[in-house]
């Protein structure tokens, strides 16, 4: 008993209890439903086991895999752009000494916006009739309104713009934290040795920043599903499934069609996707940390 009280488990106990009750148990329940033809409106179907039928159907469902592929592509592009923009913003703000605190707060402004609000907001920005974007372009002589949320490429770009606006701050603040933590000595020394700015950045700043990059990536890949609210409000996956992502598909299948069993089978496949993303970045992070501590 005493050993237990001094060990780590007593400290981890509250965490484990809460996560078990709120995440693990519901997850097991939804795992079970993915093996049933569970329909919300027919509660009895929860007790009918159909094995892998839902999964088998999904494997042959082209629409599902297209949405899956689009989600992977969307995440890959969005996360990388957010990283690049976030890095740019962090580098810039790092250069500014006077008024930096205010700038930092202003930079975090989009983080105050709930994803669902972001969805509505950008839906109106890209509205083809009265939207901010088309009104703005009209002032510059673009009379023919651009159907932002209809054209396949434009619609995906618009959604991505909303997603990037709402999440780049997270990258920027994490990377800025990294930049502020870089020791000044090596940089000064390198400059004395005649390195130019780019060389300094590439050889000193960037390696030091890498763990932060992976932290940011890991945190964001934990949290990507919040893009669901944005897409749902902006296009709901349409038109003609051109912006369908896994989350819009899952929620329509589960709540509108009431086919919860099938929706949960889709969820499970998508959970593997997020786990894969997270794993990848987490191990990159561990590697980068180790490299840093050797140097």
């Amino acid at each position: 008993m005493r050993k237990f009280l001094n060990g780590p488990w007593v400290l981890l106990m509250p965490t484990l209890i809460i996560l078990t009750c709120v995440v693990l148990l519901p997850l097991l329940l939804s795992l079970w439903t993915s093996f049933t033809p569970f329909k919300l409106t027919k509660p009895d179907t929860l007790y009918r086991f159909v094995g892998f039928r839902n999964y088998e159907r999904l494997i042959g469902d082209i629409d599902f895999w297209i949405a899956f592929g689009r989600t992977v592509l969307f995440l890959a592009i969005a996360l990388n752009l957010e990283l690049v923009f976030g890095l740019g913003i962090a580098l810039l703000i790092n250069k500014i000494t006077y008024g930096q605190r205010t700038l930092r707060t202003l930079m975090m402004f989009p983080m105050m916006f709930s994803p669902i609000l972001v969805g509505f907001q950008w839906k109106y920005i890209f509205n083809d009739n009265i939207g901010l974007m088309n009104n703005f372009l009209r002032e510059f002589g673009v009379i023919q309104p651009i159907p932002w949320l209809v054209d396949g490429i434009l619609a995906n770009t618009s959604i991505m713009a909303a997603e990037i606006w709402s999440s780049t701050s997270v990258f920027a603040i994490l990377l800025l934290a990294g930049l502020l933590g870089i020791p000044k000595d090596p940089i000064e020394a390198a400059k004395v040795d005649g390195c130019n700015s780019w060389q300094v950045f590439k050889n000193i700043t960037l390696p030091f920043l890498m763990p932060f990059v992976f932290i940011a990536m890991t945190i964001r890949s934990l949290d990507v599903a919040r893009a669901y609210d944005i897409v749902q409000m902006m296009t709901g996956g349409g038109p003609a499934k051109r912006t369908e992502l896994l989350w819009t598909l899952i929620s329509r299948t589960g709540y509108v069609d009431a086919k919860m069993g099938m929706a949960n089978a889709m969820s499970y496949i998508s959970i593997f996707l997020s786990i894969a993303f997270t794993f990848f970045f987490f191990y990159k992070l561990v590697e980068a940390r180790q490299r840093l501590s050797y140097e």
Binding site: G7, V10, L11, P14, T15, I18, L19, C21, V22, V23, L24, L25, L27, S30, T33, L40, L92, I93, K95, I96, R101, L103, T105, M112, F113, S114, P115, I116, L117, F120, Q121, Y124, I125, N129, I130, L132, N135, F136, R138, W165, I173, L176, A177, G178, F212, L222, A225, Y228, I250, A263, N264, S267, S270, I271, S274, I275, T278, F282, R289, L292
Partner: protein, 286 residues
């Protein structure tokens, strides 16, 4: 002008452009809340507001005037109360539990530690959609639907992993020797933690806190499932009150959005200083 001055001007210029890009979409929402409906929907656009008013706020708080056929007031104050109770309580508990957990990871070595750590992080990757229904069914069996406790519980679970991550990094930086010295001076382990390790890691705790708060404050998908009435609906869920069957009252929604943004902004500004330091040390040395 020398090179340095030009450089400075360039930096400031790009900073200003950047801030405009970041702020405009957000400020546009705030501005919409104060503009009359005709201006908002006007085509061609009205760029310079002809008049600003508080009609949206009045309608929201006290109900519609004639013409808007009995539009009832939106119970903003109840929503605000729920949001505050839920966000602050869940942040407090998540930070408390997470800090204890982070301390556990930082100060103890045990088998498969890294794997447990990653496993706890992974609980965060599960999309809300796959959890919302099972949580709903379980909560409805034990009577937690439409209660503060139910929603707080979910947010605590949502926010623990990141708190553990940040605080774990912090505690590792504090040399064990410091608390060991204190303990030889007669402190208990708990006293040493309370007087030495905790104050040293307050930046990390503060930054975990602000992230947890913003996530709770802005969450929609899960709360909209668990909250039903004014007993527990939060401000973000209240946004949907402005969507009728087929219409969206966008200026009205913006007025409520102002209520959501301002408290979050104030809080963020207050803990801003800790935020950057907190992230710097919390993340890197894990």
């Amino acid at each position: 002008m020398n090179k340095k001055q030009i450089n400075n001007i360039l930096i400031w210029f790009s900073a200003i452009v950047l801030i405009i890009l970041i702020m405009t979409p957000g400020l546009w929402v705030v501005l919409t809340a104060f503009r009359p409906q005709v201006d908002v929907m006007a085509k061609p656009a009205v760029w310079i507001p002809r008049n600003l008013n508080l009609i949206q706020f009045e309608t929201m708080l006290f109900g519609g005037s004639e013409g808007s056929m009995g539009r009832s007031p939106i119970p903003v104050l109840s929503y605000l109360r729920n949001s505050l109770i839920i966000s602050f309580t869940s942040t407090f508990i998540a930070v408390l539990v997470g800090t204890i957990g982070g301390y556990g990871f930082a100060r103890h070595n045990f088998k498969h530690k890294n794997k447990y750590f990653l496993l706890i992080m992974l609980t965060r990757t599960i999309p809300g959609i796959s959890l919302s229904l099972p949580i709903f069914i379980i909560f409805s069996k034990i009577g937690l639907i439409d209660t503060h406790i139910g929603i707080i519980l979910v947010f605590v679970a949502l926010n623990i992993p990141f708190t553990i991550w940040l605080t774990d990094g912090f505690f590792r930086q504090i040399p064990r020797a410091m608390s060991e010295v204190a303990m030889t001076d007669g402190c208990t382990k708990l006293q040493a933690f309370w007087h030495i390790e905790l104050p040293l890691s307050r930046s990390g705790i503060a930054s975990a806190g602000i992230f947890a708060f913003l996530i709770s404050w802005n969450e929609y998908a899960l709360v909209s499932n668990l909250a039903r009435s004014t007993d527990s609906k939060t401000l973000t869920v209240g946004l949907m009150d402005f969507t009728a069957q087929f219409t969206i009252n966008w200026p009205g929604m913006c007025a409520l959005a102002v209520f959501i943004i301002i408290p979050a902004l104030i809080l963020t500004f207050m803990v801003q200083k800790h935020l950057v330091t907190g992230l710097t040390f919390g993340g890197v040395k894990g």
